[in-house]
């Protein structure tokens, strides 16, 4: 069964794309067939994989199920990791979704034809609260929520709790991102994280680091820029924790059917 994981935060610049790209890479490295859908019209993860931010037919055809999703998927440079690229027209995805009867089910339906093929689908979401994010909540099995300890307010967690309460079938995993342990505020916030009812706090924290910033220059994953570095290890730990919580330590079956010849 395909697991759909969405990196989500209402705020921008908190490490969503970095998490989606690096975790997607690790999933594929483990032998899972993995797809990353770059839903952000800015196309940051598409850029990181050196792929053109273009989907033939744009948002309307894609969410209208008029364009076969398999035909717009691109292979990345990493074996087992494919990308459904961003397109500038995604900025109007709300409008496109709103034309349908059950708009929030649309994204899931776009993915239906390719579920057989992938063990994991990562959704890299644009910041905001909108019909797109509602659809993401509907399509996802789990949300991965990066949180910068400095900006943490009790409201952030309250909102997450509320979200998780509304959707019993959606798991919500939060983790600290862009952590600077030299800052007292960060250390203090992290030490004071209270237990939450429905939101699970993942053990690993992603440090704020130069290696992650270099991703934009080198246009690849941290594990390739600086294998063995602190952020590379942090993503490993994070991925291990996520897999454990999803109860999927190994590829369900190391078998793939490649329907492309």
């Amino acid at each position: 069964m395909t697991k759909v994981l969405a990196t989500y935060n209402i705020k921008g610049g908190v490490g969503k794309t970095s998490a989606a790209v690096n975790l997607g890479y690790l999933a594929a490295r483990d032998g899972f067939q993995t797809l990353l859908w770059d839903l952000d019209p800015q196309g940051a993860s598409t850029y990181l994989f050196r792929i053109k931010p273009k989907v033939r037919g744009g948002t309307r055809k894609l969410v209208g199920l008029k364009r076969e999703v398999a035909s717009v998927i691109k292979g990345t440079d990493h074996e087992g990791l494919d990308l459904l690229p961003a397109d500038f027209s995604y900025r109007h995805m709300d409008l496109a979704l709103d034309r349908f009867k059950r708009p929030t089910r649309r994204l899931g339906r776009v993915l239906d034809p390719i579920r057989e093929e992938y063990d994991f689908v990562f959704l890299d979401c644009p910041p905001s609260i909108s019909l797109v994010s509602e659809s993401v909540f509907e399509a996802a099995d789990a949300l991965l929520v990066p949180i910068i300890p400095a900006t943490l307010s009790s409201r952030t967690f309250d909102q997450l709790e509320e979200l998780a309460e509304d959707r019993k079938d959606l798991e919500v995993f939060a983790f600290f991102s862009m952590v600077d342990t030299s800052r007292r505020l960060h250390r203090q916030v992290m030490a004071n994280v209270r237990d939450m009812h429905r939101v699970a706090m993942l053990g690993a924290a992603i440090p704020s680091s130069e290696e992650i910033e270099w991703m934009g220059v080198e246009r690849t994953v941290v594990a390739e820029i600086a294998p063995g570095s602190l952020p590379a290890l942090a993503y490993e730990a994070l991925w291990l924790d996520i897999k454990r919580r999803l109860g999927r330590p190994e590829p369900a079956r190391a078998t793939t059917l490649r329907a492309r010849s």
Binding site: R50, I73, R253
Partner: protein, 512 residues
């Protein structure tokens, strides 16, 4: 999408690499060694479908033969014995193999050791769009290893098929590369002295209508002997049940030719060989029957109510035991001097048939089309007569006799009419005959199966779970009987088609 190309003859692997890196691709720089074993069934079922199965680097991979593209993959250790697809872990690879191979097992064909070097083609964003694998393969065999031609495998990254086409086009038009004329496995099999596509048990023999009948008969019989001998080792080693089946079909076909074209052979010698072939047929009969019981066992289980299906297992156990015994006896017979002599003497006899005195062989020099045509007409007429005489509630023996005649006619049609007479007559005739034979076969099988299940009752009863098994066997016997009756009811309609006025007319005109 993928493609396999051969560099121009003058280009070594190293030179190819230089040429590629100059214009197109970047070198990944990690040459490595790759050991592969290719598999197929004895009769080349994968090859026939344009597929190849290979084990490399801890994976079984189903390849598209012409392009080398991967169809399905399964992580698995290297099989160290004939591989039965049904024993693989569930998934697309197993499904695909079971679909193509059925009950046949996969045998190791050739081992290839390669030096490979991966390269990549990048676009203007320095994104990988085509993966290239340069390969210098070598056939590993017990004797001397043989170098095979270097080849270049190109695989498109998903969504970049156009780029692959562009690269293939450039390699062909600018650098003199050629699309590989055969898959690596075929080249390796040829280099090992084999024939790609495996050993066929199907006969394709070219005959001329005016050919001497003894010459045509010996040609067909020699080919049948080849099939018998080709399937002998697999039968003895019990690799899969198709070896014995194909062997027996060829024995039966040989016997049909001996009987139907008897006037091309010297009578005394023919009589001796016919006795020996009959012995061969009988010596392999029990083993085959029990194979069929076991192959069809799931079907029997499906005939009884679901709650009773498990109760039939003791019967399966008894059948398995019997099958082991029958197989051992058969192996003894096939390994005997008698069998060895039979094959050797039969071959010598057939080789010399044409030059034997013609005195006692009135049909020997007559054209085969005439002799076979006459037999076809005769056997057909005889079948029509026999079939018309069958009463719906008549003895099972009547149906059985008609079926035996039907087999004779079918072999005559397949072996002689197919190469000698118009296809538009022969093909539909074989089809209506087959459809009749299916019903007769089902009738006969059910009759025999009922008797066998009854005969095993005592043995099964003595087992621990015996009583429950007996109850299920009772239900099975009833179902088998019902199916036998169903076959009987279907007979009239099938026979009518076979013996229709039009069909009779066609036979009369064609095989006059």
């Amino acid at each position: 999408m993928s493609a396999e190309l051969l560099p121009p003859d003058s280009l070594t692997l190293d030179a190819t690499e230089v040429v590629l890196s100059a214009g197109l691709a970047v070198d990944d720089g990690h040459p490595r060694e790759l050991d592969r074993i290719f598999y197929d069934t004895f009769d080349g079922l994968l090859h026939a479908e344009g597929l190849a199965l290979v084990h490399e680097e801890g994976r079984l991979v189903l390849l598209d033969g012409p392009t080398g593209g991967e169809r399905a993959v399964l992580a698995a250790p290297r099989p160290n014995a004939p591989l039965s697809p049904s024993t693989l872990a569930p998934g697309p690879l197993r499904d695909a193999l079971c679909d193509v191979c059925g009950i046949r097992v996969l045998l190791a064909l050739v081992q290839v050791h390669s030096r490979v070097r991966p390269m990549r083609v990048l676009d203007d964003e320095r994104k990988t769009v085509v993966r290239i694998r340069l390969e210098e393969p070598e056939l590993i065999s017990n004797g001397a290893d043989t170098m095979l031609r270097p080849r270049v495998r190109l695989g498109a990254v998903r969504g970049y098929d156009n780029e692959l086409e562009r690269v293939v086009g450039a390699l062909e038009s600018e650098l003199g590369f050629k699309v590989a004329d055969q898959p690596l496995v075929d080249e390796a099999v040829r280099a090992a002295g084999g024939v790609p596509g495996g050993v066929q048990s199907k006969l394709k023999i070219a005959l001329r209508p005016d050919q001497r009948s003894d010459e045509a008969a010996s040609g067909v019989l020699l080919r049948l002997l080849e099939v018998i001998e080709a399937n002998l080792d697999g039968t003895l080693a019990d690799i899969d049940s198709e070896f014995l089946h194909d062997l027996r079909v060829s024995v039966r076909r040989s016997r049909a030719v001996q009987r139907e074209l008897k006037r091309v052979f010297p009578p005394d010698e023919l009589a001796r060989f016919r006795a020996e072939f009959k012995w061969l047929q009988q010596a392999t009969g029990d083993a085959r029957d029990l194979d069929v019981y076991l192959l069809e066992f799931d079907e029997y289980q499906a005939m009884v109510p679901e709650s009773m299906r498990g109760d039939l297992e003791p019967l399966r156990g008894v059948l398995r035991e019997r099958r082991e015994g029958a197989h051992q006896e058969m192996v003894q017979a096939l390994r005997s001097e008698r069998a060895a002599n039979l094959f050797a003497e039969w071959r010598t006899f057939l080789d010399g048939l044409v030059s034997m005195p013609a005195v006692e062989r009135p049909d020997a020099a007559r054209p085969i089309a005439e002799v076979a045509g006459r037999r076809i007409r005769k056997v057909y007429k005889r079948m029509v007569k026999m079939g018309k005489a069958i009463e719906p509630a008549g003895p099972a023996e009547d149906y059985h006799e008609l079926r035996k005649k039907g087999k004779e006619l079918r072999y005559l049609l397949e072996l002689f009419a197919t190469p000698l007479y118009p296809e538009d007559v022969v093909k539909p005739m074989i089809k209506t005959l087959k459809s009749l034979q299916d019903v007769l076969g089902r009738h006969q099988d059910r009759e025999v199966q009922t008797a066998t299940v009854r005969a095993l009752a005592d043995e099964v009863a003595s087992l621990r779970e015996g009583p429950r098994a007996l109850m299920a066997m009772g239900v099975l016997v009833e179902r088998l009987g019902e199916d036998e009756q169903a076959a009987r009811s279907a007979f009239a309609e099938r026979f009518e088609a076979f013996a229709s006025k039009d069909q009779r007319q066609v036979v009369k005109e064609t095989f006059a």
